[in-house]
Symmetry: C2
Subunit: 561 residues, 2 copies
């Protein structure tokens, strides 16, 4: 193993140093002597001094400056220096500008400030004036993002910090302001959260580095070797890995929803299904459960997109193919599924002409109601959601559109819709481990087709004998009680198994199939107006109905458990 | 299956009903007509009306009362009634006494209040005056405990409510006040938390019912058949289940720490070890990992204690024994380990004379430094900690002495010390799943012996060739830096592998053995003054040292992984 080129850039934290009565301050000096000795042993030059939370600390900036001057002089005697940081919960000093005023007043070359984005942004501080601080007086910078949470800053900081780009803080403005100040020291990540503490260190390091690469790019200073994002236009196809025992059932359902089997792979047991702009590639392979195996997107420059993903630390996945088959660029997403980078318009003769791998069937394409892919819903473990979100944000430019909490029959589920880019991805996860008692599907996935008339799709499915989930009458009673639809419409929706949700922007009508092959179900989704969600409000009823259907199948013996 | 005798006592919630402008109120009436129809279908007589959070709700108690009167009249027309509840985050009405004043002013027989302990106690409300409300105007009562958390009441309520006795709210005063008011309706549990949502329903129901049984007893109205707690005096013994391959090593360590093998079981491969008031029973049986298999306590009335545990829904565990062997009372704790109820002073001739099962060895008991059992540290899954705590509280009267968060090398660990009764139990758990990468012991347990001279114990262990954990020099440098000990004492402690912690009450000095048999380690603990913790601050260094020792053993091949 190569010896890592590691250095300790900061010794932290030193607490309760300033604005103290004389007796306490004398004890501080004795304590600091020990700390300085440890720093020398470790070869660290800079120490972080947090603003005091001491019960006897006084509200006196002159005293704070005088005492910080004294400890800085002692540090300087040993060639050390101190970075003073305003904790968001400091007893008297809890804003960066006040910490800077005290450092200015203390006026010692071994004393500067440490700027931590969490401490500043969690209190709604304005980072813009940071650009006016002399860069050489910024001794250290700590970056952390966070979600907006309705809790005290201290537990928020200790348990919920995130890597930049995973939360809702404006790290770009903060970072730009610090850079504009002329700061030249390390950009460190100061991220405390329960997930990162527990994570595989290599995986956490990759996630962390990806966040910095994306942040650098966002502030206009992309790392060398990071290709910028080429235009991405939407899904090329979604690949389902389906056990041969389930393939017929999946085919029946796809056909009933309006897709046609337009091609068979020339050499593999793979079928291409199409309708409108929706393409689904079904790979038959012996798998324990059916799953979403890959997302393929259309882009102007597949190689640039794949190289970008690789530079953002996604492993390249060369796809085995015969000499006369398409050579598609692919990388692995954090959950192990493939992200395939396809040409915007596949053209015969190009090496990445993937439709050429399929022999056209003689099945005519039916006119119908499917317009394309609405979204794919995946279920990473909850502690992987931040990493997965950042991956899609950094590589594809997807951002969080909304978050929901669902009181599902087997426990709380959080879902996050990523969108605002070429495709929509829903990430749903259980926040507590599921016990062995739980009869649910452990990690269900869905593929939702966008349709222009969900009632027509429902009728066609019924005519084809495909069972759609019936959540029962309460859902429809409730729609009427809310005043969303009248009795007749409710009856029509129920007869068609159509679930309805609404937000302030529009309406969402969808039908849901049974779970196929142990894990995946399909949806047909009609968005009316600018509805922004993914029907999360319906999820508890849908899950309960899925469970009922499964229980009925098991008791009748028609389907394996 | 017997048909369960279930009824729906409350339809909830009906929101945003009162203190609204006329147009909005007209929509409320239409909505309520639908809700009332659903109630009739379900056979529910009472609906919960939460105080309004509507953005157009006005701060006008007279209007609120008038509108509530009107909806109550409509409810009464159908034989229904409404229980008005002040949400802790109600827009204008967020205290129980204000909700009661409005109900009084509305003055309709179909309108009463709903009292929810969370909404009242989370805001620091005084429940005492509830006793002055006419009991018949309290239409419903909802019980929930909660931990003190520094967050907004809404997420606190939605995610962190607990069953009574699992948090820090004073449910007893609340319950007594409601009972004194003359309330005769159902006592419901209104507990939203992520764990209960996910839990096995039967297990959650048992936990819930146990909480009510304990609360009833606490307010002086114990359920019929619940024996009161007989005096419990401390541990009788701790039972370790040890794989035969590890038994010699465990024996060596026990002996080195000062215990003597004073008895061999007459018919089983079980050894009794003793020193001072500490007794450890080592059962050799083929197990995958060594574990703490049972806690035995000494009590004036073993049968009453076991019956009490059984009435508190712990399964009885009859212990197989020969006709001439002791017949001990035992129940299963939530983690499956045994709680054994032993006589205070085992006497020959009594059927529960368990020492009679052991043939005395000719090993003389050495004088030494072991005084007794200090504590046992267990590691339930974090979502079982509430249930486990309540079990020990209800059965044995143990309460939480303190809680700690430990930034351990493999992730955050929370620990809770139960005490204030006949023994101390530490419950520690990882708050996030451990990944497969984690090299740690998944669920370590420890048995801590109370000693009067930890330095002497350390010397004896060293003389016997037993390795104690060395956390390295940083711990000792830090003790000096804190001003807790001088350099010489630090050096002496380090030479003896003694870890030191301190709180405002006293000091804690302990030595720790290697992990034996894959899971359990032993400690010798000296408490000086009134120290109340369990050395949680040392845990990260201890865990890292355990890991280093394991890695060294694995690389030298001397110990199986």
């Amino acid at each position: 193993m190569r010896r890592p080129r590691l250095a300790i850039e900061l010794f932290q934290p030193v607490r309760d140093v300033e604005a103290l009565p004389p007796d306490d301050f004398a004890a501080v000096l004795a304590r600091l002597d020990r700390k300085f000795a440890v720093m020398e042993q470790l070869g660290v030059r800079t120490a972080l001094v947090c603003s005091s939370v001491h019960p006897r600390a006084v509200d006196d900036d002159d005293l704070a400056a005088a005492q910080l001057h004294e400890v800085a002089a002692r540090a300087a005697d040993r060639g050390l220096r101190l970075a003073y940081e305003a904790l968001a919960w400091g007893r008297h000093v809890n804003t960066w500008d006040r910490s800077w005023r005290i450092v200015e007043a203390a006026d010692h070359p071994a004393l500067g400030v440490c700027l931590d984005s969490f401490h500043i942004l969690s209190r709604g501080g304005d980072p813009a004036p940071i650009r006016d601080v002399p860069g050489e007086k910024v001794f250290f910078v700590q970056l952390a993002d966070a979600p907006e949470l309705a809790m005290d800053v201290l537990p928020w900081s200790r348990h919920h910090r995130l890597f930049p780009g995973q939360g809702s803080f404006d790290l770009e403005t903060f970072t730009a302001a610090v850079a504009a100040a002329g700061y030249t020291g390390p950009w460190s990540l100061e991220v405390f959260n329960d997930v990162v503490r527990q994570a595989d260190p290599w995986r956490a390091a990759r996630d962390a580095r990806r966040s910095l690469l994306a942040l650098e790019e966002a502030v206009g200073a992309p790392a060398a070797g990071l290709p910028s994002r080429p235009p991405v236009h939407g899904p090329a196809f979604v690949e389902l890995a389906v056990d041969p025992a389930t393939a017929d059932e999946v085919g029946t359902v796809l056909h009933a929803l309006g897709l046609d089997a337009t091609g068979r792979h020339r050499t593999k047991p793979v079928t291409l299904w199409e309708a409108g702009d929706a393409r689904v590639v079904v790979s038959e392979e012996p798998v324990s459960t059916t799953s979403v195996a890959g997302l393929a997107v259309r882009t102007d420059d597949p190689e640039a997109l794949a190289s970008r993903a690789e530079a953002l630390l996604a492993p390249r996945r060369p796809l085995p193919h015969a000499a006369d088959e398409a050579d598609l660029r692919a990388v692995a997403a954090p959950d192990g599924s493939l992200l395939l980078c396809c040409p915007r318009r596949p053209q015969p003769g190009r090496p990445d002409f993937w439709p050429g791998d399929f022999v056209p069937t003689d099945v005519p394409r039916r006119p119908g109601h499917v317009e394309g892919i609405d979204h794919v819903a995946l279920t990473p473990p909850w502690d992987d959601v931040g990493e997965t979100s950042l991956f899609h944000r950094a590589v594809l430019g997807l951002g969080p559109v909304g978050e929901w909490e669902v009181a599902a029959p087997f426990g709380l589920v959080r879902s996050r819709l990523l969108g605002g880019g070429p495709l929509r991805i829903v990430l749903s996860s259980s926040v507590v481990r599921r016990g062995g008692w739980s009869p649910g599907v452990p990690a269900p996935q869905s593929l939702a087709l966008a349709v222009d008339d969900v009632l027509a799709v429902s009728r066609a499915a019924a005519a084809a004998g495909v069972r759609l989930v019936d959540v029962g009458p309460n859902h429809y009673d409730d729609l009427v009680a809310r005043g969303w639809v009248d009795e007749d419409t409710a009856a029509e929706l129920h007869a068609h198994r159509v679930l309805l949700d609404r937000d302030e922007h529009g309406e969402y009508r969808h039908v849901v199939t049974e779970v196929l092959g142990g894990r995946v179900f399909l949806e047909a989704v009609q968005r009316i107006g600018g509805y922004r969600g993914h029907g999360a409000a319906d999820a508890p009823a849908r899950m309960a109905a899925h469970r009922r259907a499964r229980a009925a199948d098991q008791s009748s013996g028609s389907t394996p458990a």
